[in-house]
């Protein structure tokens, strides 16, 4: 049998493999090039970018948890103009899909940031309506259908680029939010962002994070992510980029069986920077071993019990 086809199509954008570096864990694709070229990835979702530069939260911004981490960076980033002038030209010289990840305090910020990116070579705009670490905006948009709809609508009107809405798991029913963004013209959804969590130092009685609370990621959240991807896959027709605790090829295959067309990997990279490459190779091996010609053939192919 010839080599399986591991390329995927996400809202009209071809990724040579289904592995994307998750926003917030891979910067703007500069830091890991000492180890391997960015081209080994299917795509990179860049650090969450806002209209104006942001300083982020006071440290500590990270805490270790059983099989995961809590973070509260608070969207520190150099602003969309810096991204367009400095990072994007460098990224576009490489054969890797570039996903800009945008966030904002108000609807206008989202719309304006998307409008600026509309005239660039960005492949996809991922719209973060689920950041748990900023006081204004962020997850406040993503936890109600009305909020999710209004951001999606505004971004849709601001750009012709494919837009992918990043959903929060911190809701009662994620399928309602997914349906709401689908109805407003989203091209894809990505999920899950982090789960809100907290750690306390029992000696100082202080929360470890200066922000008191933060977003939980890593293998600890993986089963929650698989469940939500499966639920959303059953609820809407849009392609899903699945993420949340993936750290092996087996995890990625599981996420794709649940309904993800591609996956993002984040926290696991801190532990092993080579994880994205190992996952991509491992998916190919899984397909070969099981006589499957195309990776897209496994998407949503879980066989649930009746």
């Amino acid at each position: 049998m010839s080599r399986p086809d591991i390329s995927v199509d996400i809202c009209g954008v071809r990724l040579k493999n289904p592995v994307i570096a998750a926003s917030g864990t891979y910067g703007f694709g500069e830091e890991y090039t000492d180890l391997y070229p960015l081209e080994r990835l299917g795509g990179i979702s860049c650090k969450g970018t806002t209209l104006q530069p942001k300083d982020g939260n006071i440290p500590p911004r990270i805490a270790e948890t059983p099989s995961g981490i809590l973070n509260s960076v608070g969207l520190q980033n150099p602003g969309v103009e810096h991204f367009i002038k400095t990072d994007l030209p460098r990224l576009k010289k490489q054969d890797v899909a570039v996903i800009a990840n945008i966030a904002g305090a108000g609807i206008e910020d989202y719309a304006e940031t998307a409008a600026r990116l509309d005239e660039t070579d960005v492949d996809i705009i991922e719209v973060n309506i689920s950041c748990p670490n900023v006081k204004q905006g962020g997850a406040t948009w993503g936890v109600t259908c009305a909020g999710a709809e209004s951001v999606t609508k505004a971004v849709r009107n601001a750009t012709k680029k494919p837009i992918m809405i990043k959903l929060t798991p911190n809701v009662t029913d994620i399928t309602e939010i997914a349906r709401a963004v689908e109805a407003q013209g989203a091209d894809a959804v990505s999920l899950i962002n982090t789960l809100l969590g907290m750690r306390i130092d029992i000696n100082t009685r202080r929360p470890i994070l200066h922000n008191n609370v933060g977003g939980l990621s890593g293998p600890a959240v993986f089963p929650v992510a698989v469940r939500m991807v499966w639920q959303v896959h059953n609820a809407i027709k849009l392609p899903i980029v699945g993420m949340g605790g993936i750290s092996s090829a087996a995890d990625a295959v599981e996420m794709m069986l649940a309904g993800a067309s591609a996956v993002q990997i984040g926290t696991a990279i801190f532990n092993d920077p080579y994880v994205p490459i190992k996952v991509s190779q491992g998916i190919e091996r899984y397909l070969s071993d099981n006589g499957i010609a195309k990776v897209s053939d496994i998407v949503g192919q879980v066989r649930p019990w009746e």
Binding site: G27, Y32, L35, G56, R61, S67, G68, N71, V73, I269
Partner: protein, 256 residues
Amino acid sequence: MSYFCGSYPIIEKKALAGQIYSYTLLCPQIAENAHIGQFVQIKAEGYMLRRPISICQTDKEKGTLRLVFEVRGGGTDKISQLGAGDMMDIIAPLGHGFTLSDAPNGKVIVVGGGIGVPPMLDIAKKYGENCTAILGFRSFDRIILDKDYFATGARTVLCTDDGSVGIKGTLAAPLKEELKSGAAAVYACGPVPMLKAAAEEARLAGVPCEVSLEQRMGCGVGACVVCACTVIRDGKKQVLRVCKDGPVFKGDEVVF
């Protein structure tokens, strides 16, 4: 500047004081590229986050790296279970080290507090008799690397919080005294109040100072912007990354 990620053999392990261990790794590529003041990210089996540990010594000829760390929790405890002959998984060398002149205009002062003592050893070695090392510990049973410092030829001043050895109290007073006779530079690593005091004494004396900061880290390579620190640089407030823009910063630019 480039870094590497891989598993390297431990060729020596020593227990220093208390829960403080010294490891020597054979990793020629890393040793070749390492600068004084840089750090490594060590993988702790069973933990998501690697542990950032400063490089204590680099021997470019032998191709070795010496790391000294204190067990502070589950992760460092796990790492400390590794022994000679085992492999240690590290990402290194990382960060921006000290600015060290080959011909300093006068004496160099290093200030190290507690587990901030190991990263300064190679500075003392580089400058030998032209260096004064002021080292602070909680008490006599926490003293580490004193013989290593004596062997460099640097004038070594020991201080303890309880006065059980050397000068009683913080490092600020002996540093102030030392600065009276002038110095080319002050380099400091240790707890934040100590760094703040060192930067302030150096500023008052008009001597350039560099400090090595510590912060909880994620990736260690600059990608996740978790380990933030605030500096005033070129008259502007900037939030920088301890792991990539530091861990060494100018003493007068850090907002402590």
